[in-house]
């Protein structure tokens, strides 16, 4: 596989870009692997990469029922931030942010991480108090986050309507300058390429039908659309379908799967310099480097696996965007789609070991899993390799729903998830 550099670009430019080799081979499964990862999204591919790179485990397969990066990795609005309230969450997401910083260099693949800043709008007194609490908690955890007055917010994001007569008046904003966006596809492709280079097999169009357990209860392997594959360690990283896969291993999960919708506009010239989130009115907006406005919505109210979602939610989101940014009220939207997100009761992820020996899980990211990709993958690889929790993922156990030691970002979150 070619190392990307100015030289290799120049060489291939001269030969008319006709001689680029494939970025990773499309593999058929072997009979046995040391580790099987279910789900080739950013999280699964990342875990395979860190297993190979940091723990020397290269006999790894990543099995994907569709195409690589075609699930929530390719369906999110690419927002990256770490200004979560609780210590456990702040550590996990800030660990991810640290890895985002050098990811392009590390993978030799441009993931286009852009620290353009994420600004969260406060529209009422409750928002103001809640965001200021977040800012103080973040500062204690050494997480970047600061308060902006409406005028400062307008200076940071000129299209913002801060008129006191607005339907949703802006009373201030919390800004994480280090936060931003990355190119979601490139994250999956970069990890896939770097993992394949170290010997990981990426097997696409191969649904995992069930997880097989032996007489002693430990994992023996997975039944797939391409036959049985043996492995003593299986890590499930299947987002909205996690509970379906885990059910087959006899583990019932505290998860519900909801559609989460997003949409993009026609491309326009650069007009929107940052990411703005408005939790109260449920609208998330940024502008991609291609020029499209990327708009995120809330989850639908009902559980579903349809990857569609209903139009009333889109109408609500777009109406809110037009109120907060009146300059966009004649924009045309090009397309919308839905991803299926797995939501836990406390809106925090489940990341680590399960009651079944050899079975690991990385799920429950709800509406905010993309930002965690490198951090979740990195700590999951540690847990799979050593069969013990990483200090950062240790609080995110499945047992917390029995003990009651929840990480309740649902009640305290900066966003209405």
């Amino acid at each position: 596989m070619t190392h990307f550099s100015a030289m290799s670009l120049l060489k291939n430019a001269i030969s008319g870009h006709k001689n680029w080799p494939e970025q990773w081979p499309d593999k058929q499964p072997k009979d046995e692997y040391d580790v099987i990862i279910v789900g080739a999204g950013g999280h699964g591919l990342g875990a395979a990469y860190y297993l190979a790179k940091e723990h020397g485990i290269t006999n790894v397969a990543v099995i994907e029922k569709g195409w690589l990066g075609g699930g929530n990795t390719g369906r999110n609005t690419t927002i990256i931030r770490s200004n979560y309230l609780y210590d456990e969450s702040a550590r996990l997401f800030d660990h991810a942010l640290d890895l985002w910083e050098n990811l392009s260099t590390e993978l030799n693949y441009n993931v286009m991480y852009s620290k353009r800043g994420v600004m969260m709008l406060a529209h009422n007194v409750h928002d103001v108090q809640s965001f200021q609490r977040h800012i103080h908690a973040n500062r204690l955890n050494d997480v970047d986050n600061r308060w902006l007055t409406p005028k400062e917010a307008k200076a940071f994001c000129p299209p913002l309507n801060i008129s006191p007569d607005a339907r949703y008046p802006v009373m201030g904003a919390a800004l994480q300058q280090r936060a931003g966006t990355a190119r979601h596809d490139a994250v999956a492709w970069g990890y896939a390429r770097a993992a394949a280079k170290r010997g990981v097999d990426i097997i696409q169009n191969c649904p995992v039908i069930s997880i097989r357990r032996g007489a002693d209860g430990a994992v023996e392997g997975v039944e797939t659309g391409k036959g049985f594959i043996k492995a003593r360690k299986v890590a499930v990283s299947a987002a909205g379908h996690t509970s379906v896969v885990m059910d087959s291993a006899g583990v019932r999960m505290p998860l519900e799967s909801y559609p989460l919708q997003a949409l993009v506009s026609e491309p326009i010239k650069p007009v929107f310099p940052c990411v703005v989130m408005s939790n109260t009115v449920h609208a998330y907006i940024s502008q991609s480097d291609k020029g499209e406005l990327v708009i995120g919505s809330g989850t639908d109210q009902y559980t579903s696996y349809s990857q569609r979602g209903g139009l009333p939610l889109i109408e609500h989101t777009v109406a809110a965007i037009c109120e907060v940014f009146p300059i966009f009220n004649r924009m045309r939207m090009l397309r919308k789609w839905g991803g299926i997100v797995d939501v836990t009761p406390d809106r925090s992820a489940i990341l680590g070991k399960t009651p079944v020996r050899g079975l690991y899980v990385n799920c429950g990211w709800g509406t905010g899993g993309f930002k965690a990709t490198p951090g979740a993958a990195h700590t999951l690889a540690w847990t799979v390799a050593k069969d013990e929790p990483h200090p950062i993922n240790a609080p995110f156990t499945l047992e917390r729903f029995t003990t009651g030691r929840l990480i309740d970002e649902a009640a305290a979150a900066a966003v209405a998830h």
Partner: protein, 99 residues
């Protein structure tokens, strides 16, 4: 948008009139103090999250205001049937919606 049949109003009405209220047929514990931590976990947090026909509660919040149950296919989002609260889950074998 979903069209939802309210069994009390006996009419199929748009989703905007309704609020989803989670999985149906989860019984509250008869003797809460006797429950173990695992049983509390199952009651509070574990859900079937079915990929297929799902029994769920809806409330006709902008209508008659009453709770009822419905069966819906979570893959196609089509409703199989809806029925009044307190009634057992209807047997729908052979009546699954087209995918």
């Amino acid at each position: 948008m979903l069209l939802i049949q309210c069994p009390y109003c006996d009419d199929a009405l748009p989703e905007l009139e309704f609020a989803y209220a989670g999985e149906a047929h989860i019984d509250r514990p008869q003797d809460p103090s006797a429950l173990s931590d695992e049983e509390w976990r199952d009651f509070l947090f574990i859900r079937s999250n079915v990929k297929g026909v799902h029994a769920e509660r809806w409330r006709h919040i902008n209508g008659c205001g009453r709770f009822f149950n419905a069966l819906r296919d979570t893959v196609s989002d089509r409703f199989v049937t809806s029925y009044k609260a307190g009634e057992p889950r209807p047997d729908t074998s052979g009546k699954e919606p087209a995918q």
